[in-house]
């Protein structure tokens, strides 16, 4: 069954009439230890990165929160974000981020899943090997281009469908839709990988019991690949959370506390990118507030990740 020859790994040659005693004690070789150590360092780099981020952001954020104009209460409950007039409520930025992420996921999750199921279960290998990389090109289109695409194509369509008075020129809906298109390859490729990795024996067993292809796909394969699927969804959501350019162009540059996706608004990341590239002095309160926003974003992402991990841990199944 093994398609590979095990290389020369036996310490002792056993040939005809030349028997030596096999030493079966478990010995960990030095080079194994070294490799393990190197690999651990790779993993630990992520810790250092996080420490770096938290320390750097935390330092500056602390400087922001200790300013007299800012109170923690206002930060978390205020509904207006306009530092120029001393309004520091994060809620408008937070709602905009959540809205665009949700719209993006509403587009990307069904589309991504369906594409992945099609490629993995229905398509021929040739079709799969062509379409999968083609869709991955979508992941490489510069987000600036997608932003303009949202503004010049998607918004007019939305305005045509819903009316010019309901849909403003800058709105979070078109930004969210285009973000969904950006994330689509992420989800479709990763889910497809997860589905392909499900052992054929499971499928064959189900067919043997008389299931249709659709039933096999949705009731056997998808649940078996849940771990990979959730990883893909979480990655997709994280990407949507951290996206800046598309929203900056298509949804405008004004923080706006609203749940209406047809109005303009600004996300946390969009705000950070805009202010740091603008003409505002780096000594101003507005600039310092960016670090507080970034830290808050980091913590919200962490929170969402912890929740999702709990969910995965409960439902993940191992096969074979």
């Amino acid at each position: 069954m093994a398609q590979r020859q095990l290389t020369n790994s036996f310490p002792i040659e056993i040939g005809e009439g030349n028997r030596k005693v096999l030493d079966l004690r478990k010995r960990t070789k030095l080079h194994e230890r070294i490799i393990q150590g190197l690999l651990f360092i790779c993993g630990a780099i992520s810790i250092f990165t996080t420490i770096g981020i938290v320390v750097y952001l935390g330092e500056e954020a602390l400087r922001f929160f200790t300013l007299p104009e800012v109170t923690l209460l206002e930060f978390f409950t205020g509904t207006v974000w306009q530092p120029q007039i001393d309004e520091f409520g994060i809620l408008p930025l937070l709602t905009a981020t959540l809205m665009t992420t949700m719209i993006a996921m509403l587009v990307a999750i069904p589309l991504g899943m369906f594409v992945a199921i099609y490629l993995s279960e229905y398509a021929s290998p040739k079709v799969r090997s062509t379409i999968k990389p083609t869709l991955e090109i979508l992941a490489g289109i510069p987000t600036v281009v997608l932003g303009y695409f949202a503004l010049t194509w998607v918004t007019p369509i939305l305005r045509g469908v819903f009316g010019e008075n309901t849909v403003q020129i800058y709105n979070t809906a078109s930004a969210g839709l285009v973000m969904g298109i950006l994330i689509l390859p992420l989800i479709s490729s990763m889910v497809e990988d997860a589905l392909s990795a499900v052992p054929i024996s499971l499928r064959e067993g189900a067919y043997g019991l008389g299931a249709t292809k659709f039933e096999v796909a949705t009731q056997i394969v998808v649940p078996a690949a849940l771990s990979g699927i959730t990883a893909a969804l979480i990655l997709g959501m994280s990407r949507a959370f951290g996206e800046a350019m598309i929203v900056a162009i298509a949804a405008g540059a004004g923080p706006n506390f609203t749940l209406n996706p047809f109005e303009g608004a600004e996300t946390m990341t969009g705000h950070i990118v805009r202010i740091s590239g603008g003409d505002i002095s780096y000594e101003s309160v507005e600039y310092k507030s960016l670090f507080a926003i970034a830290l808050f974003l980091f913590l919200v992402t962490l929170f969402l990740n912890l929740i999702s991990q709990r969910i995965i841990a409960r439902y993940r199944e191992e096969y074979d």
Binding site: A2, L6, T7, S9, E32, Q36, L39, C42, G43, I45, S46, T49, G52, I53, L57, P110, I117, Y118, Y122, A123, I131, T134, L135, I137, L138, A139, G140, I141, P142, V144, V145, F149, I181, P185, S189, M190, D193, A194, V198, P199, I200, S201, T212, F214, E215, S227, A231, I234, S238, G242, M245, T269, S276, G277, A294, L297, T301, L302, Q309, D320
Partner: protein
């Protein structure tokens, strides 16, 4: 194997149960409907991509209303057209009309009399006549509304000539930067992007795969490893500009001797600056490592334990098992993560601006310790400019970026297809 096994309900020995029959029919119909839905989704994805790419290509060719600051008729000797001018004559004309510094620069690049006729003609046009693109149109507009465009141009820009301009040309790809959209090129940006992405791949791939292997194969389920795992998931969601700031603080400032090359003797410690290709590559590598790790983890996790057990059963050590059995089977998933992350890193703008990517630079990068600019930064800058022509060269630059991306990913895609096979 992907073939649909047919349900052999005709071979049943029991008398056919009518409820069973309708149930089977319903299930089959449901399956067929959903099959179309799945296919449709794929088609939607392909359509979205095609529309995007087509709208970009639409801007790379089109009509342009070109006005000359100085009409050619005033420059050329009477009776001669621009195609008939010899290089000797061009030499004389240039000396008379161009500033002496500029003439000297041109001579130093290559003496005018030694150039081809086409080059000499171009010199006269671009140095003296100075064309300006007053307005440009996309390909679709040029094909569909050519009369309207014609009328518009004669009315608004009577001095201008309407030409069909190809914006994505060899000159565009090989010329250095310029403020004039008609002569600007992206070679500096291409080199910068390529240098950076090579560093990113060299750094991020081993670290990402290594960490994934560690987390899946070696790590016990203790506290520190769980923290690492949560950490990595979280890092994948940090906006790229934060990585830019982190890279600035760490790679550019703290590691300045290394990233500026001073420690290797590459540059003068007095003027050395950490804002180099190396710092940018390291920062972007840090950005994409979490995605590679997560994909790698999923891929390694999906390798069946039976394979590993078989290997151990034959006496292989843990590393041998991983290297010879687990990894080859996990390669497709790892490569997917790599492809997606490289695509992302290639198109990043914000973190690189923070690191110190120049928007205008007079020289091509010479080493990893050079200052640089990248394609996305050029594209971003050009899309923000008011003149129409900048939109066209931005579109051309985007096409070049996508082509480069596909080429970069081609190796990974080829490897992925080769290693991609179903396990038992």
């Amino acid at each position: 194997m992907n073939g649909t096994p047919t349900i052999p309900d005709q071979n049943l020995e029991e008398p056919a149960n009518p409820q069973f029959e309708t149930n089977v029919k319903n299930r089959n119909r449901k399956g067929a409907t959903w099959r179309y839905i799945f296919l449709l989704s794929t088609v939607v994805g392909i359509i979205a991509l095609s529309v995007l790419v087509l709208t970009i290509i639409d801007d790379t060719y089109g009509l342009a209303a070109i006005e000359y600051k100085v009409p050619l008729s005033e420059i050329l000797p009477p009776g001669k057209t621009i195609d008939e001018i010899t290089c000797q004559e061009a030499d004389v004309i240039l000396q008379e009309n161009v500033s002496k510094n500029r003439y000297r620069t041109l001579q130093n690049e290559q003496p005018i009399t030694e150039r081809t006729q086409e080059e000499c003609a171009n010199l006269i046009v671009y140095e003296i006549a100075k064309p300006v693109a007053r307005a440009t149109w996309s390909l679709s507009a040029s094909l569909l509304n050519s009369e309207e465009i014609q009328a518009y141009t004669t009315e608004k820009y009577p001095e201008a000539e309407l030409v069909f301009k190809k914006w994505l040309t060899k000159e565009f790809i090989t010329s250095p930067q310029s403020d004039d959209p008609l002569t600007a090129g992206i070679i500096t940006a291409i080199l910068g992007s390529l240098w950076i992405i090579v560093i990113v791949i060299i750094v991020a791939f081993p670290i990402g795969v290594g960490a994934a292997i560690y987390l899946e194969e070696y790590a016990n389920d203790n506290m520190i490893n769980r923290v690492i795992r949560t950490n990595i998931n979280n890092l994948a969601g940090v906006p790229s500009i934060i990585y830019g700031m982190l890279g600035l603080a760490f790679f550019v400032r703290v590691l300045e001797p290394v990233t500026s090359g001073a420690i290797f003797g590459f540059s003068d410690p007095g003027t050395a600056n950490g804002r180099t290709i190396l710092a940018a590559g390291l920062t972007l590598a840090l950005l994409i490592v979490p995605v590679i790790i997560i994909n790698g983890q999923e891929a390694i996790r999906a390798v069946p334990a039976s394979l590993r057990q078989a290997s151990y059963g034959l006496g292989a050590t843990q590393w041998q098992t991983i290297w010879h059995h687990v990894l080859p089977n996990a390669i497709p998933g790892i490569l997917t993560g790599t492809i997606l992350s490289v695509a992302r890193a290639f198109g990043e703008t914000a973190p690189l601006v923070v690191i110190g990517a120049a928007t205008y630079i007079t020289f091509n990068p010479e080493s990893v310790f050079s200052k640089f600019t990248t394609l996305p930064i050029q594209i971003y800058q050009w899309t923000a400019r008011p003149q129409d022509a900048f939109g066209n060269i931005a579109a051309s630059a985007i096409i070049v970026l996508l082509v480069l991306l596909v080429a970069l990913n081609a190796t990974a895609i080829y490897l992925r297809n080769r290693y991609s096979r179903r396990l038992v």
